[in-house]
Symmetry: C2
Amino acid sequence: MSLETVSETRSHGGVQGVYRHASTSTNTDMVYSVFVPPQVALGRPLPVLWYLSGLTCTHANVTEKGEFRAACAEQGIIFVAPDTSPRGPDVPDDPEGLWDFGQGAGFYLDATEEPWSRHFNMATYIVDELPLLIAEHFPADMMRQGITGHSMGGHGALTLALRNPGLFRSVSAFAPIVAPGLVPWGRKALRHYLGELGPAWRQHDTVALIEDGARVGELLVDVGEADPFLEKELRPELLESACDLAGIDLTLRRHAGYDHSYYFISTFMADHVRWHAQRLAG
Amino acid sequence: MSLETVSETRSHGGVQGVYRHASTSTNTDMVYSVFVPPQVALGRPLPVLWYLSGLTCTHANVTEKGEFRAACAEQGIIFVAPDTSPRGPDVPDDPEGLWDFGQGAGFYLDATEEPWSRHFNMATYIVDELPLLIAEHFPADMMRQGITGHSMGGHGALTLALRNPGLFRSVSAFAPIVAPGLVPWGRKALRHYLGELGPAWRQHDTVALIEDGARVGELLVDVGEADPFLEKELRPELLESACDLAGIDLTLRRHAGYDHSYYFISTFMADHVRWHAQRLAG
């Protein structure tokens, strides 16, 4: 598969790249970023940490503001940041003209409803298509993948890990949407992409997946107590009780004073990178 | 002096703030950012590191992409990032409509020529006005100030330190313009702000100031060898020979593969913060 290099820039001893390719999952061009740390010089394949971004974001937000490179350079981790949805003039968008659905809001699932199903296939894109491209073009050990994400991207990280047992050795999230079937952002997206409330919704809902028997070994989740979306959209207490019932080892950290922004994410990014690195070692 | 809080956000255990005030130096509103680290809780005034930004930037570039907060939180440093010029519809701008002069390009001097002299007084703003505001509103020890900056802001850090002996205990720069009287960006700015080539130019030119006897104790300067502006605009070799002749202890680090961007700055930011912290301690 061919890859167009948008930019490659030296940073923290490694290379921060941005790439574009024609995606067969989304039927659009897709852009993503990859940081390759200095340990590439050792000649051995390196573990990969996926970072899925939140509503309205592209690869660029975390690439510019995420402060992951120092920790990835320290730990020898390749960091991949995909876009959050297909984009372009031919891609349908929110009929209400809002920012919480459509372009920038793919919710990391494969849509089954028209007109979304032609382009909005982010689950296939993240789990099947992009990893092949990463494996082909970067010194990545695809047996050692971890995944994390923020908000809608935290939802993506958790649901994709639960739906694909064994694919990701380590899973974490920043301020994730954990019960999209119960909250406004999620209900709007699931209704459009998957049709009215039904069994399909539970396949893309972290709490429902856990209730229905899906498992991951352990989870690290950070939330800010001053996050304006905490009570209405994120509802970490639902994840806490689902993990408790299911026996999943959840470390849920509530940080006083922190909000939903990259000022929050960047504060705890190095913790997450090191947590994944420990679990992806060897 | 009154201060309007634009935003205050928890990050890295401290608070990243953005503030606006009516400046008597520039006769405009000015916006700047301040990071106050967690050590504020100890109740003692903390050292201050000024960061002067480069052409086209505002306070926001380094605040979002500079990756200084982790190191400032570790070292107990207050980090202040001013804007690069006055701005607004009443402020004159580059007659050619380019980005390298006028708004976003104040060059950290007080203009003497019309129509610039009414607003473009960034030297007075940075050295006299803003420190009073910082001292009044933040837990800052103004006897312990360091200064750094990038590109045009590196020029600002070096010239303001050389022109104000003893004001800054520590001085460093990222990819600074060191001889504005000899390079295109600098000549354009000095001609407009100060009039045709004459003695005034040497007062705002690092290499000329050193040649004319101004001194700082030591300097840390980082440049990227893949910086597209290195040979034509930055010319670090001129700083090297001036410091050599003057007996100034210059540590000039040339980094293979690095460019002029925040991918370069953020890589070495923690080094600079720690270097300043050592010299501002106690």
